[in-house]
């Protein structure tokens, strides 16, 4: 990874955010919010948490542009998969 020995991301702060997000997810999941709102919130929190892990724990934020481009490859493929599945539905 392209980070220096003394320039680590704030791992414990990110851990705190991840733990708080997980607690929020459980609260939303077990709440009586309208289904669509709850699902939207849950997906938003989940993908934000996943992005934090990828950016700071997998150090993607500090990687080169070429690795970023590589990491983006699955997303168009996922879009194709979703569009194809929606058509089958």
């Amino acid at each position: 990874m392209s980070i220096g020995e003394n320039t680590h991301p704030p791992y414990m702060k990110i851990f705190g955010v991840l733990a708080a997000m997980m607690g929020a997810k459980v609260l939303v999941g077990l709440s009586s919010l309208p289904k669509n709102l709850a699902v939207g919130l849950l997906l938003l929190i989940s993908f934000s948490s996943a992005a934090l892990v990828a950016l700071y724990y997998m150090h993607l934020r500090f990687e080169t542009k070429r690795l970023w481009l590589l990491a983006l490859i699955p997303f168009p493929l996922i879009a194709i998969l979703i569009v194809t599945v929606m058509q089958e539905w």
Partner: protein, 210 residues
């Protein structure tokens, strides 16, 4: 330490392709993980289609699955990601004791996750929630059990493989085979471990909360 410097320090593992400073092992792990993204996307996509096409086969969150227990287990896995980055940071600073200590903590947390998942499976099977049969008619048909065990089982297998790989890395660390100039092995297993954590964050939401 930059990727290029780390790559140059790997004895006998000089990068065959200079991917803007990303050494070959690391590039290979990233490509593998990206294929895993597609793999888990297919599993999740299948689950979503089956669930919304056959809602009568699926129970609401908390009716069958133990959300509270799995939330605690998810927290355990998140903690293991922290211990993993701490192990890598310790190695970067030349702290061999710290490396071993944090690696051991990661192994213990990973094994705990697998153990709790086994405990959960035991109770679910005991209650008749099994894959591929309609025994659990009251709150979930055969589709529910099949998709649940397929997704969580594949993820659990990934965690188990990760724990075994971490034990291998810990043994090498105890032999003093990693240094700040030779940290490729720890970085690679770290990438895999964080990916497993990342996937579970999404799976937990989709399988247990939605």
């Amino acid at each position: 330490m930059t990727s290029k410097a780390a790559a140059a320090a790997l004895p006998g593992r000089q990068p065959e392709v200079d991917f803007e400073g990303v050494y070959t092992l690391k590039l290979g792990m990233w490509i593998f993980l990206l294929s895993e993204v597609m793999f888990f996307t297919s599993l999740i996509g299948t689950y979503v289609i089956l669930r919304f096409a056959n809602p009568e086969h699926f129970a609401n969150p908390g009716e069958v699955l133990n959300v509270e227990l799995t939330a605690i287990n998810t927290f355990v896995l998140i903690c293991s990601s922290v211990t993993m980055v701490k192990a890598f940071a310790a190695l970067q600073q030349g702290d061999q004791e710290g490396l071993k200590r944090w690696l051991l903590a990661t192994i213990v947390l990973g094994a705990t996750f697998v153990g709790v998942q086994g405990y959960e499976y035991y109770h679910l099977v005991h209650d008749g929630f099994v894959p591929g049969t309609a025994l659990y008619r009251a709150e979930g048909g055969p589709l529910y059990g099949s998709t649940f065990y397929l997704m969580t089982g594949f993820h659990g297998t990934h965690v188990t493989i990760g724990v075994l790989a971490l034990i291998f890395v810990l043994i090498k660390a105890m032999r003093g085979q990693y240094t700040p100039q030779n940290l490729g092995g720890v970085e690679i297993i770290g990438l895999y471990w964080h990916f497993v954590d990342l996937v579970w964050i999404v799976l937990f939401t989709i399988v247990y909360l939605i």
